[in-house]
């Protein structure tokens, strides 16, 4: 490609500026500040448009950087010839505030007609190289060679198209990639993926228990529920049993009450009967004719009388017998005394008559006693009350007659009973003595009777004492029975007061099917034991469930880590895959890049280097280019950094390399080359070489060379 002319309306500091270019070498001797760089940029912008619209820094933003200082139309035109087609074109561009306002026109420079051979992306279309690569190749700045060939600049040039050095970074990047791939490798024991997989494998095995445990938990829960159910049933059974037991014992109490009550009633009726019998016995046949009140009155009166009589005690059978014997003896003595006095006989008695009288009386007495005893026995033994009573009454009648008889005989004899003689006196004394004894005994029971004249007292009158004793015994019986009856009746009333008698009377008899109290107690005990057992089991079940739950909790946490681990693994694997893909493609790219550029680059480098130092093709040049297109200086079989070379040599090597890139990278359409005073560091000898170099490259390229010094012209 050959630049023909440029016309700048306004572009940066350049204003209304026109320049023509020749073929081959164009040398512009201009002082610094003239606008060389701006001109170089203008040429680029004509082909590629303004770049860096997104960049905020003015330095990187063409639109800001080259907006006309003095205002006015922003843009210009450039005429060039495409060498391949030998067609001349005129590019006209004007720039607005935004990209959208930019205008691009392409004209056929000869016909002045608008051409559509290329679009506004004309630079890339013709040169087959993008703007950034263009920037880095065809424009060789002052500073680049001036500051010496540092490794960074080296790399920059090697990395022809980029602001940063991807070629330089290639090794580092690849190494980093390989390291990381190894670090996360699924095939190495130390690889993260390998380790993660192992870890997850282990977790997974542990998680196998999860389902089992969950099953265990749900089954336990089911069991708990069942057991709970059974426990409740048991509780009901136990409660039922308990209730029945209580009812049972209450019933027992009621039954006992009933028995007691029935007993009481029976006792009362027994008492009543006994009382009635006692009363009947007391009153004898009179009972029927008397009213209850009369009977009561009589009983009470009798009791009052006899209580009084016997207040100091009741004479017993023996005493009574003795008394009666004494009274009989007294009678006898009195009669004897009377006889003795009658006969005037002292100390003698007519034993015969006395004896026969006594025998009769004795016989009569035995009959009386026998009759009474038999009668009494008949009455008491209930054999035949009437007959008994009749016998007793007959006995009594005989006794009465006998008594009257005796007293009559006593009367008849009493006055004559005077003991004048020792016989009479003795008897008389004995009578006195006996009389006093009898009186003193009787006085106890008859306190109101006057016993002053005991000698003449008829003691036969007190024969009723025995009868009274008998009567009193009966009355006392009546009183006792009555008391007993009253007590029983009171007990009954009391009982009725605190018991529901009606219910008691209606109570059914113990049913036969009812279990026994003991049987119930026994099963209650058994059920309680089962209940406790179940309760215990439920407690252990709950404890077990809690334990399972705790274990599950741990498992859930493990599950969480497992799931998180799976995600991590997935990420790692994806990353691993990505790394491998990046690595493979980077290597491939590097291989391609080297294949396409390395060989042409090296030969081009050689070519330009020889121009500089003027050596023949027979001589080997001591430089090598590595995979990163860095030039190494060969000494004693080893590559060394060009840093070891002098500044001048470095510049030359670099320039040769740069040209080699241009040769290698631009295809059919050779670009123009803009040199911005790159030879400031060269000594004179080398400047000559540089000039030769310029001449040489001008043969193949249009060269636009700016310098500010005559010597480097």
């Amino acid at each position: 490609m050959r630049l023909i002319s440029a016309k700048i309306e306004n572009f940066g500091k350049l204003h209304d500026f026109t320049i023509d270019f020749d073929e081959g070498l164009n040398v512009f001797l201009r002082e610094n500040g003239y606008g060389k760089s701006t001109l170089a940029s203008f040429i680029r912008v004509m082909f590629y448009g303004l770049s860096g619209d997104r960049k905020t820094q003015d330095e990187e933003n063409d639109r800001k950087k080259y907006r006309p200082w003095q205002g006015g139309s922003f843009g210009g035109e450039l005429v060039f010839e495409e060498e391949a087609s030998s067609k001349k074109y005129r590019i006209v561009r004007t720039f607005g505030e935004r990209k959208g306002q930019d205008i691009f026109r392409l004209y056929d420079a000869e016909t002045n007609l608008e051409s559509h051979d290329y679009s506004e992306n004309i630079g890339e279309e013709i040169l087959k190289i993008d703007e950034r690569s263009f920037k880095k190749t065809v424009f060789i700045g002052q500073m680049e060679l001036e500051t010496g060939i540092t490794s960074e600049i080296n790399a920059k040039i090697g990395n022809v198209s980029e602001d940063r050095d991807d070629m330089n970074r290639y090794e580092t990047v690849l190494e980093g990639l390989k390291d990381e791939i190894n670090a996360i490798s699924p095939h190495r024991r130390t690889g993260s993926i390998f380790k993660k997989r192992m870890e997850l494998e282990i977790l997974k095995t542990e998680l196998k228990d999860k389902e089992l445990m969950e099953q265990e938990l749900t089954q336990s829960a089911g069991k708990l529920h069942e057991e709970g159910d059974e426990l409740r049933k048991l509780k009901k059974t136990i409660e039922g049993l308990n209730g029945r037991l209580v009812a049972r014992s209450q019933y027992q109490d009621v039954i006992n009450d009933k028995i007691n009550y029935d007993n009481l009633i029976q006792e009362i009726s027994g008492c009543e009967h006994r009382l009635l019998e006692a009363e009947k016995r007391y009153f004898g046949s009179l009972y029927q004719d008397m009213t209850q009140d009369m009977r009561l009155e009589k009983i009470n009166r009798g009791l009052r009388e006899l209580d009084d009589r016997f207040r100091c005690g009741i004479p017993d059978e023996k005493d009574l017998n003795i008394l009666e014997k004494r009274i009989a003896k007294l009678q006898f003595l009195r009669e004897k005394l009377g006889l003795m006095k009658e006969n005037g006989y002292t100390g003698r008695r007519t034993k015969g008559s006395d004896g026969s009288g006594a025998v009769i009386r004795l016989t009569s007495l035995i009959i009386v006693v026998a009759a009474l005893a038999f009668g009494g026995w008949l009455v008491i033994s209930d054999k035949s009350t009437t007959v008994g009573l009749m016998v007793a009454v007959a006995g009594l009648v005989v006794a009465l007659i006998l008594t009257v008889g005796i007293s009559g005989s006593l009367d008849s004899r009493s006055g004559a009973n005077v003991r004048k003689s020792p016989g009479i006196n003795e008897v008389s004394d004995e009578i006195d003595h006996l009389s006093r004894d009898i009186a003193s005994y009787l006085h106890e029971f008859y306190p109101r009777v006057d016993f002053s004249d005991v000698r003449n007292m008829d003691f036969e009158a007190f024969g009723g004492l025995r009868n009274d004793v008998l009567r009193y015994a009966r009355l006392c019986d009546i009183r006792d029975f009555a008391g007993e009856l009253a007590a029983k009746r009171k007990a009954k009333a009391d009982f009725e007061g605190c018991h529901d008698v009606e219910k008691l009377m209606n109570i059914r008899e113990t049913s036969v099917e009812e279990e026994s109290f003991e049987a119930m107690s026994r099963s209650l005990k058994e059920y309680s034991a089962v209940y406790n057992e179940k309760n215990e089991y439920i407690h252990s079940l709950k404890a077990h469930m809690n334990a399972v739950e705790e274990k599950l909790q741990v498992l859930y946490e493990k599950e969480r880590s497992y799931e998180a681990g799976l995600d991590e693994l997935n990420e790692l694997e994806q990353r691993h895959n990505l790394m491998i893909l990046v690595r493979d493609h980077l290597e491939k790219a590097h291989e391609n890049f080297s294949k396409v550029y390395m060989t042409p680059l090296m030969s081009a480098f050689e070519k330009y280097y020889r121009i500089f130092i003027n050596t023949s093709g027979l001589q080997d040049i001591p430089y090598r280019m590595d995979a990163n297109f860095n030039i190494g200086f060969m000494a004693e079989g080893q590559a060394h950094s060009t840093q070891l070379l002098s500044e001048g040599f470095k510049n030359l090597v670099e320039l040769a390399r740069r040209m080699a890139f241009i040769d290698a990278m631009y295809g059919e359409e050779k670009p123009f080359i803009v040199l911005d005073d790159p030879f400031v560091n060269l000594d004179e000898v080398k400047v000559d070489g540089a000039m030769k170099f310029l001449d040489e490259i001008s043969k193949y390229h249009q060269v636009i060379y700016f310098t500010c010094h005559e010597s480097r012209k």
Binding site: S133, T218, H225, V582, L586
Partner: protein
């Protein structure tokens, strides 16, 4: 009479997907708390019955804490009756946790059970199975055996997926809606689907999914809550309302970052969008770049509730970025994290790579891009990722 219909509470859900263990545990407690709030609400509004159409629990192995809490909560509200139909996730094992079930809890099994709630409100329910004692039941067995009286207001509880035509799956939990048409159903109280859905069953009845009580994952972003039915017992007129008592809402917020050049700009764009959703839009220039209509749609889906700091947000970065655009999900997350209870950044952006741009890039980078482009074995959708990673490395950046 007021009746609450809820389902899919998924109590004891592990919530492993998004939250860390601490937050997951907290969230589990919150789910339980929302259930308790439901009961409070129901009690306050004199609700007579609570219908739970399945999946009250996430797992059969319900924790004792949760089981006991639920049982206790039911016991604590003797003024309400509870109808619990178990779903595919839970079994009735939670019931087993109680040695003694609450008296106000009624359950169902695999044949129809009916409860007359009042004079003429009848609640029927059945667990869906397609076999009985190993024998396969006819397809529409459940529907065929459902006999409801015309004069009653009939609520039917089922747990499963409604379908319009049979054979979409062999799943027993398929509810073939046409089978239930003309069967005197007034309200089909369904469970299984996690978002609110309803539809007409026939001329008389409707079906309704209340959705889950609270969203758990970002697939459950729509409005959530329970359905409150207010039935006029004489006329059978029903007022129906979805009541949202969620502690937190979940939001999926797509942010288009096309054309942005760095993470800082992306944070600003995201903040502007989140501000609009929160109802406090800043009057920044960013507003112009936001599709307001799209955000309105998100708000409508959320039941017109606003985004609150208590909520959980998934931010999805979308759009195309230049290959050199700087983007760090970590940075974006760190900037937005303090704004919400939980935020997750999902990156769905694509790097825009126009291969023509690199056609003539005579550099290693250019070669690399071309090498990836020309790799016939590599899937197209992964190519941008490989190129992005390689270029980032060549630029001296870290990737991932």
């Amino acid at each position: 009479m007021k009746i609450v219909h809820c389902a899919d509470l998924h109590l004891d859900s592990r919530l492993n997907a998004n939250l860390d263990e601490k937050k997951a545990a907290e969230r589990r407690q919150e789910l339980l708390g929302t259930w308790l709030r439901l009961l409070e609400y129901a009690s306050k509004h004199e609700v007579s019955a609570i219908l739970i159409s399945g999946d009250m629990f996430d797992t059969a192995a319900v924790s004792s804490t949760t089981a006991n809490a639920v049982i206790a909560s039911i016991k604590r509200h003797p003024e309400m009756v509870f109808f619990y139909l178990k779903g595919n996730h839970d079994t009735d094992s939670f019931l087993n946790r109680a040695e003694l079930l609450p008296e106000n809890l009624y359950t169902f099994n695999d044949s129809w059970r009916m409860y007359r709630l009042s004079g003429n409100i009848v609640i029927s329910g059945r667990e869906l199975t397609n076999s009985f004692g190993g024998a396969k039941l006819p397809d529409n067995w459940a529907a065929r055996t459902l006999n409801l009286r015309e004069e009653d207001y009939n609520i039917v509880m089922l747990h499963g997926q409604v379908v319009m035509s049979r054979g979409e799956s062999e799943d027993a939990e398929e509810i073939h809606l046409p089978d239930y048409a003309g069967r005197n159903v007034d309200y089909m109280a369904l469970g299984h689907v996690h978002r609110y859905m309803d539809g007409q069953l026939d001329g008389r009845g409707i079906w309704c999914y209340p959705g889950c009580l609270e969203g758990r994952g970002f697939d459950e972003c729509a409005r959530h809550g329970f359905v409150m039915l207010d039935i006029d017992e004489d006329t059978h007129k029903v007022k129906r309302q979805l009541i949202d008592i969620s502690k937190r809402h979940l939001w999926t917020v797509p942010v288009d970052v096309t054309g942005l050049e760095n993470s800082v700009d992306m944070v600003e764009r995201a903040k502007a969008e989140l501000a609009v959703l929160s109802g406090t839009p800043a009057s920044g220039a960013e507003l112009e770049n936001i599709d307001q209509g799209f955000l309105k749609e998100i708000l409508d889906n959320a039941g017109s509730g606003r985004l609150r700091p208590d909520d959980m947000v998934k931010l999805v970065l979308k759009g195309e970025l230049m290959i050199e655009t700087e983007k760090s999900a970590d940075f974006i997350r760190s900037q937005l994290r303090p704004m919400f209870y939980y935020i997750r950044i999902e990156d769905e952006t694509r790097r825009r790579i126009d291969y023509r741009d690199y056609e003539n890039d005579k550099s290693l980078k250019g070669e690399f891009i071309r090498a990836v482009r020309d790799d016939m074995q590599l899937q197209e959708d992964i190519k941008p990722e490989v190129i992005d990673a390689g270029i980032r490395l060549l630029l001296g950046e870290k990737i991932g």
